[in-house]
């Protein structure tokens, strides 16, 4: 994987500021050294996903909306069902047997997810409702305590609204300013701007997505992390798309905070994780108050429970955590590196066919090796909603709209795009179905 010419091109922009003193590592990674990965046995994997086996509008379902949410394997569904059927109780409270079992499963899930992220200390794993809550937590708690007038937060034009609006809110409250990296025509970040903006000495934190949900671009997070740290700032990585599609090691990535969701990686909705370095989390004030997060409570003051419970007020989503751990088990059983390789081969296959369609406009990096499994496009003067309706009539599910990335849509001068996004269970035959249905769009809009 990886196109050497492209890597060189990125490297030359990366070292445009000699002042950074950093050795550029331009790989859109950090994917750990990849042994050649055996191809996925997709036909076998598909059997694990009951929702894939149905007809939609008289056609076998082709589910290509995985960047919105993934389907769930029976292993995850069974784990949740087993918990509710056998162990359901509140955690950390009861002295009885079921509560002990529930607590064990819930804390076991935390340890499991810690291992998935390459984290040694499970107390650094905070359960959230999803990526959005994790980012809001850091913005409100860390930002509220650390930002003031004159400070800057570094974002980019390819951020999902969940990694933009929380920063707008805290900037308004604290007087801090937002700075943005532009996006190139090829759908990559303009890396030379990182040094320009950091050189001002005002950036306290950069919050950037690992993988663009609208374009599929995999950002060179490690390289950016080194520059951000050299400038004395912190890095939050939005892993909503990243964690689902490639191996993650938050330390190798150079992140200080990492937020992601369960539902995009075969887990349930309503559960996610915020990871943060312990010394950062320990210095942050609570985000929400309530049960579970306290130690001693008096009339006018309380003291906080230690990490991770400081940030987990109220009865948590116990079944969600257990389901997410089962999802992580499933993904690691399949092999995250193999999943990425599979997605990239589908992207390459799709791009080659889509480029042949008259009237197609493609967004994002040209090389499949620079993307996770996302293809965004327009076709003639058919609006993406019309494309999506026509595809749905033939059983093909894609996303149409602004993908919660209005800054990016504006950057490309479009209101919306159509987006097909692949996962471990998608096949080349399904890409063929996508392309055939796009021919129907061309016929109807001829």
């Amino acid at each position: 994987m990886g196109n050497p010419d492209r890597v060189d091109a990125l490297a030359s922009t990366a070292i445009s500021s000699p002042a950074s003193g950093q050795v550029a590592n331009p790989r859109p990674d950090p994917v750990p050294p990849l042994d050649p990965v055996p191809p996925l046995d997709v036909e076998r994997l598909r059997k694990d996903f009951p929702a894939l086996h149905q007809e939609v509008n008289g056609h076998p379902l082709v589910y290509l909306d995985n960047a919105a949410t993934s389907q769930k394997p029976v292993q995850v569904l069974d784990a949740i069902r087993r918990y509710y059927e056998a162990d359901n109780a509140n955690v950390h409270r009861g002295i009885h047997e079921l509560s002990r079992r529930a607590t064990e499963a819930y804390e076991g899930a935390r340890q499991r997810v810690a291992r998935f992220l390459g984290v040694g200390d499970p107390a650094e794993i905070i359960w959230t409702r999803g990526t959005t809550e994790g980012i809001n937590l850091v913005a409100a708690s860390w930002g509220g305590a650390n930002l003031g007038p004159g400070d800057e937060i570094l974002l980019s034009d390819m951020e999902h609204h969940s990694n933009l609006v929380p920063w707008q809110l805290i900037a308004r409250r604290t007087g801090a300013a937002l700075r943005f990296l532009d996006v190139t025509d090829q759908g990559t970040l303009r890396l030379e701007q990182v040094d320009e903006i950091l050189a001002g000495g005002r950036v306290r934190l950069a919050a950037l997505t690992q993988v663009s949900n609208a374009l599929g671009t995999m950002n060179p997070i490690r390289e950016i992390a080194d520059r951000v740290h050299a400038a004395g700032a912190l890095l939050l990585v939005d892993g909503a798309q990243g964690a689902a599609h490639a191996p993650v090691d938050v330390h190798a990535l150079g992140a200080d905070f990492y937020a992601f969701s369960g539902h995009k990686l075969c887990g349930p909705t309503g559960i996610g994780v915020l990871w943060g370095r312990r010394e950062l989390l320990e210095a942050m004030p609570p985000y929400m108050g309530g049960g579970e997060m306290i130690s001693l409570v008096e009339r006018d003051m309380s003291t906080w429970a230690p990490l991770p419970h400081t940030f987990e007020a109220g009865t948590p989503n116990i079944a969600g955590a257990i389901g997410m751990a089962a999802a992580v088990d499933y993904l690691e059983g399949v092999g995250p590196a193999a999943i990425l390789a599979h997605e990239q081969s589908l992207v390459a296959y799709a791009l080659a066919q889509l480029r042949e369609l008259p009237g197609i406009r493609l967004f994002g990096p040209e090389e499949a090796s620079d993307r996770a499994g996302v293809v965004s496009f327009l076709l003639g003067d058919a609006h993406p909603h019309d494309i999506s309706t026509i595809l749905d009539a033939e059983g093909v599910a894609i996303r149409a709209g602004h993908h919660c990335t209005q800054l990016l849509m504006r950057r490309y001068g479009v209101a919306a795009t159509a987006r097909a996004s692949f996962y471990l269970y998608n096949t080349r035959e399904e890409v063929d179905r996508l392309v055939r249905s796009l021919e129907t769009v061309r016929t109807l809009f001829a």
């Binding site: 509008n57 008289g58 003067d381 058919a382 609006h383 993406p384 909603h385 019309d386 309706t389 026509i390 749905d392 009539a393 149409a400 709209g401 602004h402 849509m409 209101a415 919306a416 129907t440 109807l444 809009f445």
Partner: protein, 152 residues
């Protein structure tokens, strides 16, 4: 279940004609009502301006961006309400809304003219809000033209 026939009826010639050659598209220099509406879930947008004189919509213009259904419906709507008394325009809005909710009687109403081409949208529930965007703007604009004391 969606069939090919339903799909062809959804994207028939008349609808694509209004989508590609929208009627009354543009801006009024003077307007008694000026409404901007947006469907935040999908990004469809419309700006609708009315000139109302003595209870009659003497002129109308719209600008917008969005799918073929939302833009064609807005175009057809303006063609129909231009020159019509406000009360008639509201009548059209309510019959069209009924048609979008599957009322067969409304679908047979010849006074809806080109708008009847959109009858097929009723079979695509997620697209009904696209077709209604222009009419939501019309109702809002009529309220605005009537002034703040209207109806009290």
């Amino acid at each position: 279940m969606t069939t090919d026939v339903q799909l062809s009826s959804l994207y028939q010639h008349l609808i694509l004609d209004h989508y590609r050659k929208p009627r009354n598209k543009g801006e009024l220099q003077e307007a008694t009502a000026d409404v901007h509406m947006r469907n935040p879930t999908c990004g469809d947008e419309i700006r609708l301006q009315l000139q109302v004189e003595d209870g009659v919509i003497s002129d109308v213009r719209f600008q917008g961006e969005g799918c073929s259904i939302s833009q064609a419906a807005a175009s057809m709507m303006t063609a129909l309400v231009k020159g019509a008394p406000v009360a008639d325009a509201l009548g059209i809005a309510s019959r069209f809304t009924a048609m979008m909710h599957g009322d067969p009687e409304a679908a047979g109403d010849r006074t809806l003219k080109d708008l009847r081409a959109l009858a097929g949208v009723a079979r695509f529930p997620v697209r009904v809000k696209c077709a209604l965007l222009g009419f939501d703007a019309l109702q809002e604009a009529v309220k605005q033209a009537a002034g703040p004391d209207a109806g009290t």
